[in-house]
Symmetry: C2
Subunit: 273 residues, 2 copies
């Protein structure tokens, strides 16, 4: 297939790594596709929700069970994230997986979390091992430690976990399972405890917890490029008011955040102006 | 039902708390029934494996869906630990749950761990909340941190987890889920990272990792009686050669181990004699 690049993503540079993105239709997935397309060849993995612009290619992939090229050097594929065989085939041949597919709601019920987040995390790691994909970047969450924030306490990635719901528990599980796969199965796993992923802070809290789209993209590519084989890092912008420790993200991954929620302080905290 | 106490357990004292033991047919469950019967009324919960001596009572419970008294003031009940409704009914009316039911093998495959250990842990906590049971003592495992031992490193309960298999990951999950239920749902949860539960050490390693039956029983009843509402503790005897930190078990739970693997040192480590 040839043609002009998709309007929503750039063309990949020649010889770029092929990176699979699960949950490509989600809020973070859509943004990461746009931000990472000029750095990597992307294989966007969809399930039920599919953007209209790639609907034809996705339907073809669903029918054949094979990835289908789209303009710009990228590909689409399909998989139900709770199905190990589907995931294994969808990621086969890629150099890394950005694993975003999950129920995203902090208040999601147990059954939904069990299927999409717990089983869906096993399939990503186990599928990677079976398909020979060497690295997974796992979208963990600040809700793995949510009760520190509720108690007004700062947190770092090495403190005991304090999840604030099934969603948060599923992220702790994904981190622990990832560490087993890293230490016991030869897979590299980087876990990013994503903060408030938004175009800009929406309230006073997010002056502290904001993760800008471009800073998330930087964390994603640094997690793909690092030689480190396991780590848990908070993923937020360089917010002046942050209470989650990003020191290790900066020192270990080389993360240099470009944004700071403080830019928007006057809007949500007039007293600080 | 009246009669003499079962040969394998003592009669409960009058007015004792009623404590449910899941996995009552297992190695730890069988021993805990014997050790705790003189302190508590016990409700022994079985599934597929049932001791001959209570087979009739268990069959009656399975038929009626209700607990059935056995001699000594104790009871039996039945539940598939992966079935929330069954677990909820089986534990209803008890004062605490000693949750031992799980696939016990460190090398258990994913599917078995998913059903018995992950879902089976959710059913214990959620069932407790639904049935109004205020406290769960969760049988975690040293395999939540197994890679420290493989690397020759000491471990304490507050260090980042390093599970060495799906089994160990399931124990990390049970601890994290327990912490959420403790902090978010009003359930008290004590997690015991059980070492080498044996009548006596079987090899040189177990001089360090041994947990005697009576020390496990003490940890269990202290975890039931403590006012503490969440904690993770290593469960081993007072072994001179230990490399898992039991300071917090002693200080927080009041644990005073009675045994020390060193008693058997000459047998497994002649050089030390």
């Amino acid at each position: 297939m040839t043609g002009t690049p998709l309007p929503f993503i750039d063309a990949a540079p020649p010889g770029a790594k092929l990176v699979a993105i699960t949950g490509a239709a989600g809020e973070i997935g859509t943004s990461m596709a746009a931000h990472l397309a000029s750095r990597y060849r992307l294989r966007l993995i969809y399930n039920r929700s599919v953007p209209e612009i790639v609907a034809g290619a996705v339907a073809e992939s669903r029918a054949t069970g094979l990835p289908v090229p789209i303009p710009g050097g990228h590909e689409v594929a399909t998989a139900d994230v709770s199905d190990l065989d589907q995931v294994t085939e969808a990621i086969r041949g890629t150099d890394a997986i950005l694993h975003l597919a999950a129920v995203p709601s902090v208040r999601a019920p147990w059954e939904a979390v069990l299927s999409a987040n717990l089983i869906g995390c096993y399939t990503a790691y186990e599928g990677a091992v079976r398909a020979g994909v060497p690295r997974v970047v796992f979208a963990s969450s600040n809700h793995a430690s949510g009760f520190y924030e509720r108690d007004g306490l700062p947190t770092g990635p090495d403190l005991p976990v304090r999840p604030d719901g099934y969603y948060g528990v599923s992220k702790v599980f994904g981190e622990a399972l990832g560490r087993y796969y890293a230490e016991g199965r030869g897979l590299a796993v980087i876990c990013l405890r994503i903060g408030s992923f938004q175009p800009r802070p929406r309230d006073k809290r997010q002056l502290s917890t904001w993760l800008s789209h471009r800073d998330m993209a930087q964390l994603a590519w640094r997690s793909i490029e690092t030689p480190v084989t396991f780590g848990i890092f908070y993923g937020i912008s360089g917010n002046t008011r942050r209470y989650w420790d990003i020191t290790s993200a900066c020192e270990v991954l080389g993360y240099v955040p470009e944004d700071d929620g403080e830019t928007f302080a006057a809007e949500f905290d007039p007293a600080s102006a």
